[in-house]
């Protein structure tokens, strides 16, 4: 019974992974990709080129920095949301559903909407202008990096909220009772009694948020289009452009292998944070 699923997995995941590794060692371009087995073997040339003469190091920096900032923002937001949505109040069910909307919306919809919100003279600029701040370009130039961070954080935080809310359900009712009797302020109670229960779920949420952000191709692709502004040239977009616009499949495969290395550490952390059996 493991066989059909197992075989299919080997076929659809294992084979492509091996082929990806092989392509990264070939000089494969638009002339040779239809007969990839005949393409010239170039050893580690693609890897050397990726590190020395391509935008890869910059892309790794942009990806890591943006994913880290997004993860950093989602922590207090998601945690505050979970605490606020846990206590009973009228309309709690509805509010909980609404809070999920940014996470539930497809990334291509989020990208399309925010692209219009952030366009020059768009609604974001008029809102910022009303606060007396300078309107400016959001989809190009140095601010585009912050636009990416803000939009990805806007759509990513509910995962942390969900995990923290699930963690709150596991808090022992006696802890609540003890907290009620104890005279300490609400913040001290939270820190001493409640937060220890949330450590696991929050660690999991942070790792997944980081992974999702690093691997997110759709949002930067739709939000900024290609060729993408240099400040938001993240790893997936760079790899995509290198293969499907410049047709440098070998170089691009080497970049993809590098991006696997970037997510390797968070993946290991992820596997440790999840209950496997």
């Amino acid at each position: 019974m493991l066989a059909p699923g197992g075989l299919l997995l080997v076929l659809v995941v294992g084979v492509p992974l091996v082929v990806a590794g092989q392509i990264s060692l070939l000089d494969l371009d638009q002339y040779t990709f239809r007969q990839w087995l005949d393409a010239p073997f170039v050893g580690l040339d693609n890897y050397v080129e990726a590190v020395r003469d391509s935008a890869l190091p910059h892309a790794i920096w942009v990806s890591a920095a943006y994913a880290f900032l997004v993860t950093l923002i989602t922590l207090p937001v998601g945690l505050a949301a979970a605490l606020a949505a846990h206590d009973r109040f009228a309309g709690r069910g509805l509010v909980r559903s609404v809070l999920l909307i940014p996470y539930v919306l497809p990334a291509f919809v989020v990208g399309t909407v925010w692209r219009i919100i952030l366009q020059p003279d768009g609604v974001a600029d008029s809102a910022v202008g009303r606060l007396g701040l300078d309107a400016g370009l959001w989809l190009n130039g140095p601010r585009s990096f912050w636009a990416l961070v803000i939009v990805q954080a806007w759509t990513a935080w509910p995962l942390l909220y969900l995990l923290a809310l699930a963690g709150l359900q596991t808090v022992d009712p006696e802890v609540h009772e003890a907290a009620a009797i104890d005279g300490a302020g609400w913040w001290v109670k939270l820190r001493r009694l409640i937060f220890p229960y949330l450590r696991g779920p929050i660690a999991l949420g942070l790792v997944i948020t980081f992974l999702h952000s690093v691997n997110n191709f759709t949002l930067p692709f739709v939000l900024f289009g290609v060729p993408s502004p240099r400040d938001v040239e993240v790893l997936p977009v760079l790899t995509y452009v290198e293969s499907f616009q410049n047709f440098q499949f070998g170089l691009s495969a080497a970049m993809a292998v590098f991006s696997l290395a970037v997510v390797a550490v968070p993946i290991v952390a992820y596997l440790r944070a999840v209950r496997l059996t």
């Binding site: 239809r34 969900l162 692709f221």
Partner: protein, 283 residues
């Protein structure tokens, strides 16, 4: 028991108000802009000066959204059904039997979900292109090829969701059947699958959304006839650059139409889906 509060009432209210404004600001703007004039959107007005529902009529011819939605429905639907049913067998074995390599497989299932999509797309594209050249049949651009590429993510994903679901079923059920002499196959089809409908639905919905939401694979693996709604919208948006005022109303209307089935699915199955989300933290 007295119900104790985590946050004082004013703090709770403040947090909720800020969050709701942050969420509903852009979401409400999406609705307003879809019925606004394009000039209103271009000048940064939040509320429409005139309400015009015409965009919802025009998108069906300008974006060819009908074809896109149908393609998305077909590909994502088949992938969802296939991976849900294939995964229940694998998940059953992984949950109920102890064997060497079991934990390694569970680890691999999770790790596979975090592999960068580009790392999978490249070899799949090259393999399909080579296959086409070898057998003389166009592979890239067909819905089958697209569905097959989605399995690379949907399958590990669905299997993991089913693993977390089957863990919750009491083992006494199949132990009793086994004592009565039932084969593993019979236990799976007569006991496990009938009891796993909620799990199957959740793993199917997640696999469906994976296909519905994808732009990476579909942008490369489709042609104008087999384009999914996601790619149709992305292409439509990209072609609005330059020239006169873009048709913002239609873009927003089309985006809303693409998002509506997803949001409805979530609202209907919210209880089950949230459980699935927090079990593996999958999207």
């Amino acid at each position: 028991m007295r119900h104790t509060r985590l946050l004082p009432r004013p703090v709770q209210t403040a947090v909720l108000v800020v969050l709701l404004l942050t969420v509903l600001g852009p979401v409400s703007y999406m609705v307003f802009a879809s019925v606004s004039s394009d000039l209103d959107v271009a000048s940064g007005a939040y509320l429409p000066t005139t309400v015009d529902l015409g965009a919802y009529r025009r998108i069906w011819s300008t974006v060819d959204l009908g074809t896109g939605l149908l393609n998305s429905l077909l590909v994502a639907g088949v992938v969802a059904a296939a991976s849900a049913f294939v995964s229940v067998g694998s998940a059953y074995v992984l949950v109920r039997f102890a064997f060497r390599g079991r934990v390694a497989i569970l680890r691999a299932l999770l790790a596979m979900q975090s592999i960068p999509g580009t790392l999978m797309l490249l070899p799949v594209f090259v393999l399909f292109a080579s296959a086409s050249a070898a057998i003389g049949v166009q592979v890239i651009g067909t819905r089958w090829a697209l569905g097959l590429t989605y399995l690379t993510f949907a399958l590990p994903f669905s299997t993991w969701v089913m693993v977390t679901y089957l863990r919750g079923l009491p083992p006494e059920l199949d132990e009793a059947a086994r004592i009565d002499g039932a084969s593993s196959w019979r236990i799976l089809t007569r006991i496990i699958i009938p009891l796993s409908w909620p799990g199957l639905v959740v793993s199917g919905i997640f696999a469906f959304l994976l296909g519905w939401n994808d732009v990476l694979f579909a942008s490369v693996m489709t042609d104008p006839d087999t384009r999914t709604a996601a790619v149709a919208l992305q292409v439509f948006g990209a072609t609005q650059e330059g020239g006169a005022i873009p048709v913002y109303g239609q873009l927003m209307a089309a985006a809303l139409v693409c998002a509506a089935p997803v949001v409805v699915l979530y609202l209907v199955f919210q209880r089950y889906l949230v459980g699935g989300l927090t079990a593996g933290g999958v999207k």
